[in-house]
Every structure is written in C-alpha cells, then in structure tokens.
Amino acid sequence: MAERPEDLNLPNAVITRIIKEALPDGVNVSKEARRAISQAASVFVLYATSCANNFAMKAKRKTLNAADVLAAMEEMEFERFLEPLREALEGVFVIQDRYCGEWILHG
C-alpha cells in the first residue's frame, strides 16, 4: 500500500511538538532521540494493529473496531491509555485542521 518507505514515518514536526509538550520546559531532545521516538511510534502502530487484528479475527470480523484497539492496548500492557482513549472517543470528533480535512470523514 505504501509506495515509498518514508510514507511509513510519522511527520517529524508533529512528533517533535508532542515530545516538547510532554517534557518539562527547556529539555533538549537530541536529533537522534527524536528520530528514535518517531520510529518507535511507527512500530507501536504496527504492533497495536497486529494485536487488534487478532481480536477481530477471533471474533470473525474483517473490520477493526474500537473495542479491538482497546483490547490491544490491554494486551500490550498499556492499560494507562484506556481511560484517556475512552474519554477521547466520547468527545466531539474535532481534528486540528492543519492537514487536509477530507480524510477524516472517510474510513
């Protein structure tokens, strides 16, 4: 599906911003560390997808749904994400309009 390998990376600017917001002010994050976190994030997506897909397959479904992703988080021992995720899902579906908005509406 991805034509170029760099399509499987997440945008560096966004990753950098998320890191900066999470850490105390003034922490210097090396370029290498930023790259590593970005790669780790891509691997996290793949790992989560694979776990979630196992749950969907067990239930004989072809489409991954929210319950599969939440079950995957538990399986991966990221239970700490469950509550913020549920909260986010309940909220209004607003996405910062920095990237084109159209894909939001299409599965």
Binding site: M1, A2, D7, L8, L10, P11, V14, I15, R17, I18, I19, A22, L23, P24, G26, V27, N28, V29, S30, E32, A33, A36, Q39, A40, A41, S42, V43, F44, V45, L46, Y47, A48, T49, N53, K62, T63, L64, N65, A66, D68, V69, M73, M76, E77, F78, R80, F81, P84, L85, E87, A88, L89, E90, G91, V92, I95, Q96, Y99, W103, G107
Partner: protein
C-alpha cells in the same frame, strides 16, 4: 464533559484530549501496510492515532525520568535505548532501539568469546 483530575498526569501534556495532532491518513497507511488487515473503522483509526500520541508522550517522559540527562536537561538516544531494555512495556522496541556500544568494546567481547571457544 471535560473530566480532568489532578491525578490525570499522563494526559496533562495534551491539554485538549479530544483533538489529535498526528495525521490520521498517515496512521491509516501504516496500519494498512500490515498484510492481514483488510479494513479499519473510523473509531479504531481515531483510537490508534490517539494511542500513538499517548505512546510518544509516555515514551519520552519515562525515558527522560529514568535517563541520565536529568541534570543536563536533555534526552538522548541512550536514554531511549535503556527504556526499551529496562521497561517491560517497551520491550517490543529493543530491535529498533538497540543499545550502542563502542567498536573497541565490541572487539574486546568478540576476542573474549573467541578465547573462551579456544579453551573449550
């Protein structure tokens, strides 16, 4: 609707929990690169994107807190590699975050191994 508590430390960084900043289209592309995934519904896509953001925050914060750069106020690659090695939940990252060793040290280990082999 907002139910932020003081204990809600992890998501404190993402002041607005309802929005996401990573591009959903890119996350979907990564998910679809997995061969056995046929389709992903909207909520699953949203949750995976949000989870990835939480993961980036969590990885950065725990690597920094357990890392060696707290005094110098810096986060380095080796802090991340240590987190991958030492924290159970980050174990899946050890392949892409290998610990760096000096070539000299590596050669020494190699020599030692050869010596041990010769002894046997």
């Amino acid at each position: 609707m907002s139910t932020h508590t003081a204990a809600d430390k992890d998501s404190a960084a993402s002041a607005n929990n309802k929005t996401i900043s990573l591009p959903i289209s890119r996350v979907r592309l990564i998910m679809k690169s997995s061969p056995d995934v046929s389709s992903i519904n909207q909520d699953a896509l949203f949750l995976t994107t949000k989870a990835t953001e939480l993961f980036v925050q969590f990885l950065a914060v725990s690597s920094f807190n357990n890392g060696s750069g707290k005094e110098s106020n810096s986060l380095s690659y080796s802090d991340l590699a240590s987190a991958a090695e030492e924290t159970d939940t980050f174990h899946f990252l050890t392949d892409i975050l290998p610990k760096k060793i000096l070539a000299g040290d590596y050669l020494k280990t190699l020599e030692q191994m050869q010596d041990e082999e010769a002894d046997n």
